[in-house]
């Protein structure tokens, strides 16, 4: 059993992520770092209906029995906590972001909010797309320089000091991507309104 306030945070954010279509019923995962432990959603739990028993506490470094029930992506979460100052991680499957990741190496926002928050979201690509050391390496390395990254065809990894912060990046990313998609469907030439936006790819 985990701390009640922490559970409520997981539960509320999980519900919001599911209900806003950022992941399917059982997809994605979330974790926080507490002391020298990681608390992560267990494998097979429903994102939108998390119960207090749906969490696993496992050691930050080294293996323990927690790994048996923890999410498949635990290895990625561990690598991120080792390599960055993240205190919370959210992995989700935002559809439009995934769609865009299929055809570009970086997502550059065209909307104002996205420009303020991100400037650029890199896309990493690995052969074994779920729970591999290769993925853990690539994602954790990328998150040293960015607060949210996309894994081509799979989904996003966002970090923050709190779950709420990580959630904000996930939600904002999908807004960025929806706007890019809709602009491209509209097919009209964009009137550039931002100074220095040509430098965003240098971010």
């Amino acid at each position: 059993m985990i701390d009640e306030k922490l559970y409520e945070e997981f539960r509320d954010i999980g519900r919001d992520i599911f209900l806003t279509g950022l992941t399917s019923s059982h997809g994605g995962n979330m974790s926080v770092r507490v002391g020298d432990k990681i608390i992560i959603k267990r494998r097979g739990a429903q994102f939108g209906r998390l119960k207090p028993t749906d969490f696993v506490k496992t050691r930050f470094q080294g293996k323990d029995s927690g790994i048996v029930r923890a999410s498949t992506e635990l290895i990625v979460h561990r690598a991120i906590y080792e390599k960055t100052s993240a205190l919370a991680i959210i992995h989700a499957h935002p559809r439009t972001a995934i769609t865009l990741s299929l055809s570009r190496d970086e997502i550059i926002p065209i909307d104002n909010e996205g420009s303020y928050f991100f400037r650029k979201i890199p896309v990493v690509t690995v052969e074994l797309a779920s729970g591999s050391t290769e993925l853990a390496e690539a994602v954790s390395e990328a998150l040293r320089g960015y607060k949210i990254v996309m894994q081509r065809g799979h989904g996003c990894f966002a970090v923050g000091q709190t779950l709420e912060e990580a959630y904000h990046w996930v939600s904002a990313l999908e807004e960025v991507c929806d706007i890019i998609l809709e602009a491209s469907l509209l097919g009209e030439e964009m009137i550039e309104y931002r100074k220095h936006s040509e430098s965003y790819e240098k971010w």
Binding site: D36, S85, E164, K195
Partner: protein
């Protein structure tokens, strides 16, 4: 080479010689500059056998690769030493113009060692380095000294001590550009013990960024976000730092009358709003800063100067039960002229008031007596009467009168303007601070009160360890680049990393910087361990741990330090005694310090 100057100037005041050495670039990349470079250099020079006020102590002034580049807030500089107040690592940083000018003289660091036979000043110009007699200035206040030595804002800048530093007052500050301060831990006393009155700098070398395009882009983006944040674009320039007085009081975390209460019913009278309404003349900015938070104020008796900041208004205000803003402001001006840390001074006066109230000390001193403030400050600077006790800091004073528990301090550094019983995370910050009870080493004001970046429960204890650690590491690297922490209110470390990359031409990520921060924090910890500090020193005054807040929104609270401390050591990869494990030291490339563990 860009960003760093690549040179260290060492001056030996005993032999009146100086030498110039190259900056080790490996160390530069690992510790960046400022506070980080300061502790790394100090580690080799000052061991446990060195008395802080002896000639063997080193006074190390450092800038960072960002300093003088023109990046927003790139004006700050740092001083490192061993503290005569606490015996821990001493690091303090200040704004204004001196740091930018020192960078222009072509050095990254100035190491001052030894002791002059008679008062001297150091002058560093494009012509070279000179040590000059300063007999006629000894005994003079900071304001007069600054003017006498030719202070000229953008061109020639003066750093000096006042009578407090000369008299080895343990809470003495070093002042620069007249009213900017390197304050906590008594650096002024170290400088005074070397008979060094002032350091004047006048340079001509520019810090030209390596990647001009990227630098221009970062300047634009950072400026954009500083303008977009209502804190940096409206609140700070309009109301100054003391705007936070009312909100801290509202939630019941404003220490009052030596931390006996956590609300001050006259908080309104000493708030940022009151300053703006009654005594503000205008605001002012340090070099290359668009935020402009400094208060220029004028009192009823026509005295004009800088301040008071939140901490100073609290220290002479709520801490002493005083609501007379005019006198509080003049107390602030006087501390600047004498060269005294306003936080330690006000906190110590409040302590003296309680000692008197409880009949432990004989003095004509009560809470609320604003008319006593100025004399007490004069007396402290000159070690006269009761000032001679205060000059030793609140802990030594309270201990002498039989009640050390009435000193609101940690590791003998006076606590600043936050009652940790109303902010659990802040309690952990004060208890584990490397320089003692300090809010600048990872302030939890943002997360626990201002919802920055997000609001967390100020009464909760679980999970605080992680957020505190991240904030401590972040503060350490910001103090090394060097940026002003107020820039951090609008832009995150990812901006600093990219600006650093643009200035130096080398690639840094946000987490490269966070690792530097962790490295600096850990080396400071090891320095203190080498000095003999242990887990027992990671604590808070008894009042914070076992006297519940009497009333207000934080009523009934004490600081639940033990569980937070346990989680903190575990989070940081330290053992149960708070000693960094060797795996952690290897991870941070601090193997050279491992011998300290074994000693």
């Amino acid at each position: 080479m860009a960003g760093w100057n690549g040179k260290i100037l060492t001056i030996d005041l005993t032999n009146q010689t100086h030498e110039i050495c190259p900056l080790d670039m490996e160390i530069a990349r690992q510790f960046i500059g400022g506070r980080g470079l300061g502790v790394r250099l100090l580690w080799d020079l000052v061991g446990p056998d060195v008395e802080p006020l002896s000639p063997e102590n080193a006074l190390i002034f450092t800038t960072g690769p960002i300093t003088g580049s023109g990046s927003q807030t790139s004006n700050r500089f740092n001083v490192s030493s061993k503290s005569p107040l606490t015996g821990t690592i001493l690091h303090a940083n200040s704004g204004g113009w001196w740091g930018m000018q020192f960078k222009r003289t072509g050095y990254d660091a100035l190491i001052v060692r030894g002791k002059a036979k008679a008062p001297v000043i150091i002058e560093i110009t494009a012509q070279g380095v000179e040590i000059k007699d300063a007999d006629q200035l000894w005994g003079t206040g900071v304001f007069e000294t600054t003017q006498a030595l030719g202070q000229d804002r953008n061109n020639r800048n003066v750093l000096c001590i006042g009578p407090a530093g000369e008299n080895l007052v343990r809470i003495a500050s070093i002042m620069n550009d007249k009213e900017r301060a390197l304050a906590r831990g008594g650096p002024g006393a170290v400088m005074g013990s070397k008979m060094l009155k002032a350091i004047v700098v006048e340079g001509d070398q520019k810090n030209k960024p390596a990647d001009q395009d990227l630098f221009k882009f970062m300047l634009y983006e950072t400026g954009k976000l500083l303008k977009a944040s209502p804190l940096t674009s409206q609140a700070l320039p309009e109301f100054g730092t003391a705007v936070v007085m009312n909100v801290i009081n509202e939630i019941g975390a404003l220490p009052t009358r030596n931390f006996q209460q956590s609300q001050f019913d006259q908080a309104e009278k000493i708030s940022g709003e009151e300053i703006t309404d009654t005594i503000l003349v205008k605001n002012q900015a340090c070099w290359a800063c668009p935020i402009s938070c400094t208060r220029i104020t004028k009192t009823k008796s026509d005295k004009q100067g800088e301040g008071p900041e939140y901490e100073s208004a609290w220290a002479f205000g709520a801490q002493c039960g005083i609501d007379d803003l005019d006198t509080i402001t003049e107390a602030n001006f006087l501390c600047n002229d004498m060269g005294l840390d306003t936080i330690s001074m006000g906190n110590t006066i409040g302590c003296a008031m309680e000692l008197t109230e409880k009949g432990l000390m004989e003095a004509e001193l009560d809470f609320g007596q604003a008319d006593k403030l100025l004399d007490l400050i004069h007396d402290t600077a000159h070690r006269r009467g009761i000032g001679a006790e205060m000059a030793e800091g609140s802990y030594r004073m309270a201990e002498k009168f039989g009640a050390p528990e009435l000193s609101m301090s940690v590791k003998k550094l006076e606590m600043p303007a936050y009652d940790p019983r109303g902010m659990q995370g802040q309690g952990l910050v004060f208890a584990t601070g490397n320089r003692g009870a300090c809010h600048e080493e990872g302030n939890m004001l943002g997360p626990e009160v201002l919802a920055l970046p997000r609001l967390i429960d100020r009464f909760a204890t679980q999970g605080k360890a992680g957020i505190v650690s991240v904030h401590q590491d972040s503060a350490a690297v910001i103090d090394s680049l060097i940026y002003c922490k107020f820039a951090n209110l609008a832009v995150a470390e990812e901006f600093f990393a990219r600006a650093l990359s643009a200035v130096t031409g080398e690639h840094f990520t946000a987490d490269d910087l966070m690792m530097v921060g962790e490295r600096i924090w850990t080396l400071e910890r090891l320095f203190n361990i080498r000095e003999g500090f242990t887990k027992a020193d990671d604590t808070l005054p008894d009042r914070m741990l076992s006297e519940p807040v009497p009333d207000g929104p934080s009523e009934g609270c004490t600081v639940k330090l033990a569980p937070m401390l346990e989680e903190y050591y575990a989070f940081r990869g330290w053992d149960e005694n708070g000693v960094p494990r060797s795996e952690k030291l290897k991870e941070l490339s601090l193997e050279f310090a491992i011998e300290a563990e074994d000693d």
